[in-house]
């Protein structure tokens, strides 16, 4: 008997004085009574949902920014997407929160460490409480999995905020721990299934931006989450061949699975395909975070023509092939002859 069952068992004894049954039965009855019908995550797919027309995207003066530190958008009733405010960090990563009957998956975190800088943990807790209230669940029973797409600080820095959270498991900060967290033995080819309780998340390796990176596919919304390996902005490709193989794996996946949206971790490009330089804290005309499967295919087709390091624009994203430590897209606007 775990602590949770023990507590509800006592409550049941106090509330329902039934004579002649074994005490354990009370516990189970009580538990069954408080547990609502499981949510069906497998029919009428893909689950409908929507992205906001405009995410919060910083402000001309950072210290005059009045937006919340993170924009919480409910894609649908069982899926939230978090996006950090650019005035809290220029990285402004996105972080999906997938709810299942038994557990919740937080994919990536904002770029923050201290809860008094801004409280990601509190916001995630709030989302979980909201969802539980709407669906008649007990937030304490829901396990939280804190995972991230890859091993960069703007995706994992907040993990310590969850260190003392009950009923929570989080990914370790080494390649071995990350791969082990999903029980993979053959990274990156192996595809594993995470069951959130009726809601399957498919996970496989997607290296290229860094060595330790994963792609996540949610079978309920059918969103393919590609992390920093493919996003609406500058895909910094550190290792070309692993990246190309990962793209091929994504293409093979979309050939065989229905995908509604391809979604990355950042947006660094405007609606007019203008590059927002690295570090910018105000992106008033930024492109949407979600991309279509067609855009992914086009990028792959473009990538097949690339043979040299350099910066290439596929029509959707910039492929920065091994240029991270050398140069960028923008130029000195004041040059004259």
């Amino acid at each position: 008997m775990d602590r949770r069952t023990f507590l509800s068992y006592n409550a049941a004894v106090a509330a329902i004085p039934v004579v002649g049954s074994a005490l354990t039965t009370f516990g189970e009855t009580a538990t069954a009574a408080t547990r609502p019908e499981p949510i069906d995550f497998t029919s009428n797919l893909p689950a409908s949902g929507g992205f906001p027309d405009r995410w919060i995207c910083g402000s001309p003066s950072c210290m005059d920014n009045t937006d919340p530190p993170v924009h919480v958008h409910w894609y649908n009733a069982h899926t939230a997407i978090l996006r950090q405010n650019k005035a809290y960090s220029f990285e402004a990563p996105f972080a999906p929160l997938y709810f299942g009957n038994d557990r919740v998956l937080l994919l990536d975190e904002g770029f923050t460490q201290l809860r008094n800088d801004w409280d990601l943990r509190g916001i995630v807790d709030e989302c979980i409480e909201d969802w539980c209230a709407r669906n008649g669940r007990d937030p304490d029973r829901l396990e939280l999995l804190v995972a991230f797409s890859h091993l960069h600080a703007d995706h994992y820095a907040a993990v310590n905020q969850f260190a003392d959270r009950p009923n929570t498991r989080y990914m370790g900060l080494t390649h071995e721990e990350m791969v082990g967290f999903w029980g993979m033995t053959n990274f990156p080819e192996e595809r594993v299934t995470l069951d959130l309780g009726g809601r399957d998340i498919l996970i496989w390796g997607s290296p290229g931006h860094v060595v330790s990176e994963f792609a996540y596919y949610d079978s309920y919304t059918q969103i393919l989450y590609t992390g920093d390996m493919f996003y609406r902005g500058r895909c910094y490709i550190t290792y070309w061949e692993p990246w190309y193989d990962s793209m091929k794996r994504l293409i093979d996946f979309v050939d065989t699975h229905p995908v509604t949206h391809v979604m990355g971790c950042h947006v660094e490009i405007s609606k007019d395909d203008e590059d927002y330089p690295y570090g910018l804290t105000y992106q008033p005309n930024e492109a949407p975070v979600q991309m279509t499967v067609q855009q992914l295919r086009e990028a792959f087709a473009y990538a097949q023509t690339i043979t040299e390091p350099g910066i290439y624009f596929t029509g959707t994203v910039f492929l920065c092939n091994q240029t991270r430590s050398t140069t960028t897209i923008d130029t000195n606007p004041y040059r004259y002859a």
């Binding site: 003066s61 210290m63 960090s89 460490q113 330089p277 570090g279 897209i329 923008d330």
Partner: protein, 353 residues
């Protein structure tokens, strides 16, 4: 002594002082205030000095914060160099360029060099701050009218010309025109650009205007003979210097070198700080948190160094790191290099986050 009265005992201008306060607290008597008790006429300051006028930049510049949205530093930091010279800095969390703006006073008027990177007066109340400084300075010197000239080190530089709109319509104010041709006409350069110099007379303090194109085609450097300071803007500053025309840049550096040999300035004050306090390291563009900045002031010997290394990058698309600045010629302002200058210690500064 009560808490309230302790806050009011400093009757003088202090760096970072509250400009809303008067010179003297209400009811103060027998202070050593700069304001004469029974003024008869306005004070005429003697700007003739043997050597540079005394002054100091004793305060640490505000440097933004890790979470820019939560920064509560002053939007314009005011540091008084001496009685007639003020250095203003824009808050790093209002604009990452965090430009420096200089306010100089003479017997006939004041000069504001540069105007900051933000037009919105709510975010960056430059005009308001300048008005208050001028009002208090006028109070001390018994002048009700202090004509103001606003001049830019470069009219095209959006990190320095944005605050200009705040001064539109200000009484007793002359704004040096920003379009290149009109600016040349204003200073009387016409055909003599960039070989001749011009001047702005503040009344016994004549600020010299030296054409220094190179980082901006309309770049000028100001020289204050009273404090013996060169105000170089984007042309030479402890940061990432984006050379826009390397030929002009070298010619202007030679001009500046000849000028410096002649006048031996005490300091060079640029428009920004981007270097860290360890040699050769700098903050990236758009950074809102720069706790380990290098100091603003540069020794005149840096002109020679800049000239030497500008010659090295001339005609090449490359960047070059020096301990106190970095030169970018024909490359992206975010260019990186693996080349580290020889003989310069490579120190990793502490990482705030």
């Amino acid at each position: 002594m009560s808490q309230a009265s302790t806050q009011n005992i400093n009757p003088t201008f202090a760096g970072n002082g509250d400009l809303d306060l008067g010179y003297n607290p209400v009811g103060a008597r027998n202070t050593d205030s700069a304001v004469p008790l029974h003024p008869k006429e306005s004070v005429k300051h003697d700007y003739n000095t043997a050597g540079p006028a005394a002054g100091k930049l004793a305060f640490r510049w505000t440097y933004g914060s890790n979470v820019a949205a939560k920064n509560r530093d002053p939007r314009v930091q005011v540091v008084q160099y001496n009685e007639d010279t003020f250095v203003l800095r824009q808050n790093v969390c209002v604009h990452w360029e965090a430009p420096f703006t200089y306010l100089l006073f003479g017997n006939k008027g004041a000069l504001l060099i540069d105007s900051g990177a933000t037009a919105n007066a709510q975010h960056y109340p430059l005009r308001d701050t300048v008005d208050k400084i001028i009002a208090r300075w006028g109070q001390a010197r018994e002048r009700s009218k202090v004509p103001l000239t606003v001049a830019l080190t470069s009219g095209e530089d959006v990190a320095q010309n944005q605050g200009l709109v705040q001064f539109a319509g200000r009484p007793d104010t002359t704004i040096v025109p920003t379009p290149f041709d009109v600016m040349k006409q204003y200073y009387g350069f016409r055909k003599s650009w960039p070989s001749r110099r011009s001047a702005i007379d503040l009344g016994d303090r004549v600020i010299e205007v030296i054409p220094t194109p190179g980082t901006h085609k309309d770049g000028v450097t100001f020289y204050d003979p009273y404090c013996q300071i060169l105000f170089t803007g984007d042309f030479l500053y402890p940061g990432k210097i984006n050379i826009s025309n390397d030929r002009d840049y070298i010619v202007s550096l030679k001009t500046l070198k000849a000028f410096a040999t002649d006048r031996s300035p005490k300091w060079i004050l640029g428009g920004h700080v981007e270097m860290m306090f360890v040699p050769g390291k700098y903050y990236p563009r758009f950074a809102n948190h720069k706790p380990y900045e290098r100091i603003l002031q540069m020794e005149p010997a840096l002109i020679d160094e800049a000239l030497q290394y500008a010659r090295e990058v001339q005609g090449k698309d490359m960047m070059l790191i020096r301990p106190d600045f970095a030169l970018f010629n024909g490359v992206s302002p975010d260019q990186r290099t693996q080349v580290w200058p020889e003989g310069v210690p490579k120190i990793n500064p502490p990482h705030p986050f």
